[in-house]
């Protein structure tokens, strides 16, 4: 059974409008961005879209822009660009940690921020990052543009809020101010594998080490990327200590509902949500205290 995709019609979009129009008119169409998740799925026969809309030629969708109120990441920004960006490494350690742990350097050369998010696999790393950082997802569709909260964006495994003829064009990350720090920890069977469990943690603390805001996103901790909201709100107003982190990581664990699979039994994954949340928050705190680094 050769691992080869079923036939599909192929078309190239040169603008967002054109992409939306094509997605709207073509039957059973799918966006082709980096293709690093979609193409393997098509080869393995998981997915057989009748038509692909290649958005790679669309100009100006590959950017990192922090000139405004938030860090704007173009949907076509390659993961490798995040890995190599000084801005991201310096000011957004959570994103940088995660980018460096996505698949391998070759996949990262093509894989895009938008694609990683829209694929919405429970095992993808960037959805958890978006959840932890309360990102906004900017989508364009035939009915115009809308901005969605990351929290609402991830509906189910491989399922987002995007309509079939909608295209994610940009992700907006609240700007990291002084006192902000983040970290992404990923437990893997082997480097480049999907996470056994991954934890994205983002903290903002004042000069006395009191938590102003907290964000926690979980990878492979449920059938979809999830946000540990209770843990987040519990942290706010607390001055960070080992006990506080213990409680927070317990709440994060309680929010998780992982599947047993070849990457480990559910009870192990639950326990790891706790361990990794504690460690990620700890590192995020250190970074927050140490300023932006």
């Amino acid at each position: 059974m050769f691992v080869i995709p079923d036939r599909f019609s192929y078309t190239v979009a040169h603008s967002v409008e054109e992409a939306v129009e094509l997605l709207h008119t073509l039957e059973d169409s799918k966006v082709l961005a980096g293709g690093q998740s979609l193409i393997p799925f098509m080869k393995l026969g998981y997915a057989s879209p009748k038509s692909l809309v290649d958005i790679n030629p669309i100009p100006n969708l590959d950017y990192l822009d922090d000139s405004g109120e938030s860090l704007k990441i173009g949907a076509l920004t390659r993961i490798s660009r995040l890995c190599g960006s000084e801005l991201v490494a310096k000011d957004y350690p959570l994103i940088h940690d995660a980018a460096l742990q996505i698949a391998d350097p070759l996949v990262r050369n093509l894989g895009t921020f938008g694609g990683n998010v829209c694929h919405a696999d429970m095992g993808n790393d960037l959805p958890a990052v978006c959840l932890a950082m309360n990102a906004e997802m900017v989508a364009s569709g035939s009915s115009g543009q809308r901005v969605l909260a990351a929290e609402d964006f991830f509906v189910d495994r491989f399922t987002t809020l995007l309509a079939p003829d909608e295209l994610l064009t940009e992700v907006r990350i609240p700007k990291n101010r002084r006192g902000c720090g983040g970290a992404y920890l990923k437990l893997e069977r082997r480097v480049g594998d999907y996470a056994i469990v991954g934890v994205a943690a983002q903290l903002e603390v004042d000069d006395d080490g009191v938590c102003r805001s907290a964000g926690i996103g979980l990878t492979s901790a449920s059938t979809k990327p999830i946000k540990a909201s209770e843990a987040e709100s519990w942290l706010v107003g607390k001055s960070i200590s080992d006990e506080v982190l213990d409680k927070a990581s317990t709440l994060a664990m309680n929010a998780s509902n992982p599947l047993s699979d070849i990457r480990g039994p559910a009870e192990y994954k639950k326990a790891m949500v706790k361990v990794l949340t504690h460690r990620a928050l700890n590192l995020a705190y250190k970074r927050a205290r140490g300023g932006l680094s």
């Binding site: 059974m1 050769f2 393995l44 990581s249 504690h278 700890n282």
Partner: protein, 782 residues
């Protein structure tokens, strides 16, 4: 006297001759071969592990664009090719006619003009299955009333095999002060060569010749078997094993793809290419290990080891296909007394059929030596801990001492040479053993988990002496044919087949050493049954011990004739002629000499009166005994009490494979073997659920180590030549895969021993270790 040319003989770390093509993308692997009019074969595979085939409908597929032929088991039946013999005297299905016996089994072959057309047509074949109860656990398979995998056998019991002296062993166990025992499972793994199996088959109906370019480690045996089952005369069958992208034992087997491709070529008159995709190859080709054992070791309280016994069940899947020597249904497991001077030992193994592909690959393990070494090295460690003795000390106390070689083990093997204490002491020195033990003590006080693991293995390779070793009756010699051209250049052909071991370089180095001809002037060829002398092939670390020896002996035959010619040229009596690497001269007058090149020219232009012209020799080497490489490995690990992850901090490997031909290549072999052992110990496993679904069927699910987690290996050597091998060499291809798994497991168990952990089955997944830490109340939540 003129300068000797640099010839790169024995011991030279010369870079490899074969690399010139590989680094330029000019290697020729099976999938690189393309013939005019070639078509592609793809397979419909069974989603069921065990099911009766109600019906197969191929009409839609036959009508699909580009489809040339569709082949089912019913088509093979009249040819007597629906089943074929295995290397173990059992038989295996090529394509099923009645039922399927494992998931992803080949069911229907579809031949089409392109890869893509074949893949499309495969989806159009309709097979109606009636699911049957599945048996996955080999122990359950041997119980009464278990579903029967092989109706032709009417039982799931494959064989019962015993070695050693049961009574003597039991007696020593009764007398012993201390007895330790452990149930262990050596999991099912896949060799995971980077190049999946495949072939191009072409039947020339005019010449009546069948040529198959195939991924095989043993082309000659394949040709003979193919001739016997197809009745095509052996001179009309040509098996070519081109460049092979790794074999490790997995490419000794004959898979359905080869047979169906050949039949398809005969049926269509066109060349047929079949190449497995990874997701086909992993779940359908043969597996290694899958071995459930109960091992026990008896000792006196002073630490003298007395006796060893093992009772085991091995899982062979649906067909008994192990490529074992005929007299050894369970390979050379009886080497299990290892490096120790035991008084008695006994082993019994029962083989079982299950709903899995055939198992029992000699995966870089010289026929079950890996399982044997794992068993004894784990038990010696458990015994040391039980006695409260340092594992190194217990080993040193019980090693076979150097002066006892050649040493006859209680299992009847005669070890050729060894200095086990020498290797272990060197490893301990190199890693700083005492210091590490001190560090471990301090860490334990601080609640940190650090472990040190030792494995002092003895290998048995180079099968093998004809009085004991054959495969399907064919004696396990191997061959070399060396011909020197008039200008002194050499073509040498062998019955073995390199899959990355560097034969083109090492064989050339042996010939260079023996004849004084630079390796640049020596061309080595293997793998074409029309040109190479008959040989059993490359597996079980046998190439250097057998074919390497053949190269030396054939070279010496040539040298004898060369000496006569030299005497004629030097106008001297033969007994006055002296050989010095690369030249002959008359005793006492070294200035007047003839080079081997002069002699070669004379062999064709001016041979002595009455002498047959030419300068060549063939030798089929029948080894007098096996060779017994050995070594000591020490591994240091740190265990994360939160995640259960293990970090291999250091790993020192001291190997002894006798005299070394090329140190670069020996290092490479050891690095690769260690990495495979590392993968086995920590991440590799093919598992099945109760419905027979296979897990780990591709490189996404089956994790082999990358450069990141692979430890930075530290290697060293001792040199204890083999007394009976012409070069004093022993073979090293498998030492590291055989020796290392026990070192990793011993290290992790050593770390956890204070908590009362005596054993963990491989792979040492973090979740298994975390579970133990939780049970012992030692797990951390951060």
């Amino acid at each position: 006297m003129t300068e000797m040319p640099v010839i790169h003989g024995m011991g030279s770390a010369v870079k490899r001759k074969e690399d010139v093509r590989f680094i330029q993308g000019r290697g020729t692997y099976v999938d690189d071969i393309s013939l005019p009019g070639m078509v592609y074969l793809d397979f419909v595979r069974s989603p069921y592990a065990h099911a009766r085939i109600r019906s197969i409908n191929t009409e839609k597929a036959k009508g699909a664009p580009g489809v040339v032929a569709v082949i089912t088991g019913k088509d093979l039946q009249p040819l007597g090719l629906d089943w074929i013999p295995t290397l173990s005297g059992d038989k295996m299905m090529v394509l099923p006619t009645e039922k399927v016996v494992f998931q992803m089994q080949e069911v229907v072959g579809v031949v089409a003009e392109s890869r893509y057309a074949a893949a499309d047509a495969v989806k159009l074949v309709e097979v109606d299955y009636e699911p049957l109860p599945v048996v996955i656990d080999p122990k359950k398979a041997l119980e009464e009333g278990s579903p029967i995998v092989r109706e032709d056998k009417r039982t799931n019991h494959v064989f019962h095999w015993e070695a050693g002296d049961r009574e003597a062993t039991d007696r020593l166990f009764e007398q012993a002060d201390v007895v330790v025992g452990q149930d262990m499972y050596y999991q099912r793994i896949h060799v995971s060569y980077m190049e999946p199996c495949g072939c191009v088959a072409y039947y020339d109906s005019v010449k009546g010749t069948l040529t198959i370019w195939m991924t095989t480690q043993a082309p000659h045996v394949v040709r003979t078997v193919a001739s016997l089952i197809t009745k095509i005369p052996e001179n009309k069958i040509r098996i070519i094993s081109p460049d092979i992208g790794g074999g490790f034992g997995g490419k000794v087997y004959v898979y359905p793809g080869y047979i169906v491709a050949a039949v398809a070529s005969i049926a269509t008159g066109r060349p047929v290419k079949w190449v497995n995709d990874r997701s086909d190859d992993h779940p359908s080709t043969a597996f290694a290990r899958d071995f459930h054992m109960r091992a026990e070791l008896a000792a006196r309280k002073d630490g003298t080891l007395l006796a060893f016994r093992v009772k085991a069940v091995s899982d062979h899947g649906a067909f008994f296909g192990d490529a074992n020597p005929s007299k050894f249904p369970f390979g050379l497991f009886s080497i299990c007394t290892g490096s120790y001077d035991l008084k008695a030992a006994f082993v019994e193994v029962d083989g079982a059929y299950t709903n899995k592909p055939q198992g029992g690959i000699a995966y870089r393990c010289s026929f079950r030596v890996t399982e044997a070494v794992y068993a004894i090295e784990r038990l010696v460690d458990i015994m040391a801990h039980k006695l409260g003795v340092d594992p190194a000390e217990l080993r040193l106390k019980n090693f076979i001492p150097p002066e006892r070689f050649p040493y006859r083990s209680v299992m009847g093997w005669v070890y050729d040479s060894g200095n086990y204490a020498g290797a272990l002491k060197k490893a301990m020195e190199k890693i700083g053993y005492e210091e590490l033990r001190r560090e471990q003590e301090e860490k334990r006080k601080r609640g940190e988990l650090m472990g040190i693991g030792i494995s002092s293995f003895t290998e048995i390779v180079g099968a093998g002496p004809s009085h004991t070793f054959d495969i399907l009756g064919i004696k396990m010699f191997d061959s070399a044919e060396i011909r020197i051209h008039p200008t002194g250049k050499v073509i040498a052909r062998f019955g073995t087949r390199s899959q990355g071991q560097g034969h083109e370089t090492t064989y050339a180095q042996i010939i260079a050493e023996e004849l004084g001809i630079p390796i640049e002037d020596i061309t080595v060829e293997e793998g074409d049954t029309d040109t190479a002398p008959y040989g059993l092939g490359t597996y079980a670390s046998r190439s250097t011990p057998t074919a390497g020896a053949a190269a030396a002996v054939a070279s010496r035959k040539i040298r004898e004739k060369a000496k006569k010619i030299a005497a004629h040229l030097l106008e001297a009596r033969e007994e006055d002629v002296v050989w010095e690497r690369g030249r002959f001269y008359v005793k006492g007058a070294p200035a007047k000499y003839k080079t081997i090149q002069d002699v070669a020219f004379a062999a064709y232009t001016n041979p002595p009166p009455g002498m047959e012209a030419g300068l060549e020799a063939v030798h089929y080497y029948d080894p007098p005994n096996m060779t017994f490489p050995f070594g000591s490995y020490i591994c240091v690990v740190d265990v994360d009490r939160g995640t259960g992850e293990v970090k291999v901090r250091r790993f020192v490997a001291v190997d002894d494979c006798g005299n070394i031909i090329n140190p670069l290549i020996v290092d490479g072999q050891i690095h690769g073997g260690l990495t495979m052992g590392f993968g086995t110990a920590f991440m590799e496993e093919i598992s099945y659920d109760q419905d027979g679904n296979v897990y780990g069927a591709n490189f996404m699910d089956y994790t082999i180590p990358t450069a990141v987690e692979t430890p930075k290996w530290e290697t060293d050597k001792t040199v204890t030549p083999s007394p009976h091998h012409p070069l004093g060499a022993k073979g090293v291809g498998e030492s590291a895969t055989v020796g290392s798994p026990a070192a990793f497991v011993n290290a992790v168990v050593d770390a956890l021993w204070p908590l009362g952990v005596t054993h963990i089955d491989m792979p040492l997944y973090p979740w298994k270790i975390r579970r133990l830490l939780e049970e012992k109340g030692y797990a951390l939540d951060k």
